[in-house]
Point group: C2
Chain length 405, copies 2
């Protein structure tokens, strides 16, 4: 699919969306903490959410609104600095008040506004501060790249960089643009959903079509990453389609290209989230091969990705494959030790469950890089997966052990 | 059971066992790294091992020897500094050579010697160094507390303290003594087995009886602890009974007392292992209550104990119960958010899945202590468990990210 246009510096803006950001005073730092997206009439939407049994009020609220509207959505309002989770009735009331007030300012029903929150769990959302900021937020919206940039900054928490990806491709009848933004950093181990991700396209599609595309787009991207193994209460991926390109996803070739474009954007955002994980020095691309099923491959990947001893070895660029082998063995998958081989970079470091001669210095030098490859073969079948994960550094501990945050 | 005698400073030595330790030069530090236990004729034995699918050669060797001997064992030989794991045939050959040579010096069959190893995985065990040290090791064995102390030091790796526990109790016909030693520190998340633990008693019992006692003794102790969630390839708990007290475990009252004594010793060793975990500042006693089954309670306990965000919050003595709630929600147990309550110390900090008023400073002060209590109630049933775990500090990362180790 070489027709996709991407460039690291360039952002393609899908038609029909406007963006805005403001400081409501939720973050003590005084940084941007409130964001708004407005979409044109006729916009369709689909979303996937966290599988955590503890969910934040905006997740329940957004899910219900999408169902009530049959997948129509006209606006998104997001705050950072507070998860609006586990504060009982207050959390639901806050969603209601905010969506109603934003709807009033935008001339929309309250159910046409999709709420999101990210930040600390269990602290009452300062609703009044948000309500007092809504008029400014609405009046300052615009469709330029600068507006989108400000929106992305407003959803950041411990992220050190804004996360954006976009592609544009021609279909027979016109040009479709797809852009996505994300926030990540900590509590990153999405299960069938993910952190906060918003995807915007000007393609024309029904909500049911969008849902199918979205599930496919998430499967090998957001569902295959982990920073710390903690699954959030607020994970949300929302896809909005304005239809403003005038191109419907109604033929096979366009659908294929759109699915590919969506995968590209999701993959890029997933990579950006992992590489900006809290305290991360190295991103590890973990390939599990020759598993009996993809589920089994994922189980092995997660066991390795969540082993503290493996993650700390990576922090030290230590080619200690014994810890990787031990993690594979405790994954719950009935592997045979003498069938497991491990590669660091292109080098075989463990053959059939036992040590083999390898250039330790070269393996160390590979692990010093910001992006590393670790490949594990199981000799059980033909399935596999690629999983993005990180090392665990003393900085991660410092960021999360700091009582003042 | 007030008849058990324990005192922190005092060690009760069971009759019939002699101990020894030596420096074989496996550890670069030049510290003690080879230990020997000799038991008298007629000694019975039972063991439980790691559930990791990747197992070290001594685990397979020891398991096979116990089966071949129908639970008779006369000696234990342990090295630290090398796990003798994942080095292919070399590992098995090393076990064979060492057990045969030790047997020859002690006048025993090779299968009467039980091998154990702990240390780095995937590096060839320096068999020659061990063989060259065996004669000294055997000649210096003795039955005093000092000999036992030296043995405990020889099995340490990153442990900062030796771990010992013993009890003595009277039974109608005599006095039974039970002593145990352990090494722990990292890769601590035993699954139906544990790190290296050796338990010695002078009670008289069949191997089958010992096996039953041992399973019961491990269930709520070594199987309910975790430092880093990593399950070792070498975990072994071995119980040896010399019979030298002359007291058989053949009546209900003696059996009950013995089971109680075994639980006490295992509990003490489990606590010692957790509190000496790598980089540990705080030990957290996690109580899960009102679960539907004990298995379910354990699943919730492990999800909380292995959450990096929970562990790092504990490192900062941060009463951030939202992270605990999120971990409970992602445990896979179908809990209802509005039924979950959380206590820190004696204080309720989360009532029915939502925030409630509590004295944050008091909660913080509780979490500053070296031993803390966190209690979670689920309102699902009557089962529960107590799980010992730790905080995660920057020191843990430093210890395990150090490439030179």
């Amino acid at each position: 699919m070489t027709l996709l246009r991407r460039s690291p510096g360039r952002v393609y803006l899908p038609q029909g969306f406007s963006f805005s950001a403001a400081c409501a005073g939720i973050k003590a730092s005084g940084r941007l903490d409130l964001g708004l997206v407005e979409a044109p009439p006729g916009t369709t939407a689909a979303a996937v959410f966290t599988q955590n049994r503890v969910v934040a009020a905006p997740v329940e609220f957004g899910r219900a609104a999408l169902a009530a509207n049959h997948g129509r959505m006209r606006a998104v309002i997001v705050n950072s600095g507070n998860a609006n989770c586990a504060t009982g009735d207050h959390a639901y009331l806050a969603c209601q008040q905010i969506c109603r007030a934003a709807g009033r300012l935008l001339g929309l029903q309250s159910e046409e506004v999709f709420p999101s929150s990210t930040g600390i769990i269990g602290v009452a959302l300062p609703t009044e501060k948000i309500l007092a900021t809504l008029a400014t937020l609405v009046s300052e919206r615009g469709t330029t790249k600068k507006h989108l940039d400000q929106f992305v900054r407003a959803i950041m928490t411990t992220d050190t960089r804004p996360k954006l990806a976009s592609v544009r491709f021609r279909s027979g009848k016109g040009t479709i643009t797809l852009a996505g933004v994300a926030k990540g950093s900590g509590m990153i181990h999405p299960q069938l959903a993910t952190m906060l991700v918003y995807l915007f396209t000007d393609a024309a599609a029904t909500a049911a079509e969008l849902k199918r595309f979205l599930r496919g787009g998430c499967e090998h991207t957001f569902n295959c990453i982990s920073v710390d193994g903690d699954t959030s209460t607020n994970d949300t991926v929302l896809l909005l389609a304005s239809g403003k390109s005038g191109v419907r996803l109604n033929n096979k070739s366009t659908r294929k290209r759109f699915a590919h474009a969506l995968s590209e954007v999701c993959e890029s955002l997933a990579e950006q989230i992992v590489s900006d994980g809290e305290g991360v020095q190295h991103v590890i691309r973990l390939s599990i091969e020759q598993a009996r099923s993809q589920k089994e491959a994922l189980r092995v990947a997660r066991a390795v990705a969540h082993s503290l001893l493996v993650k700390t070895a990576w922090a030290g660029a230590d080619p200690n494959w014994g810890r990787i082998l031990a993690a594979v063995g405790s994954s719950g998958v009935p592997i045979k030790q003498d069938k497991v081989s491990i590669f660091i970079g292109s080098q075989l470091v463990c053959r059939n469950g036992a040590s083999c001669r390898f250039d330790e210095r070269r393996a160390h030098e590979h692990l010093v890089k910001p992006g590393c490859d670790v490949r594990i073969t199981l000799q059980r079948g033909r399935a596999g997966t690629t999983f993005l994960t990180t090392d665990l550094t003393a900085d991660y501990v410092r960021i999360n052990a700091d009582y003042s945050t």
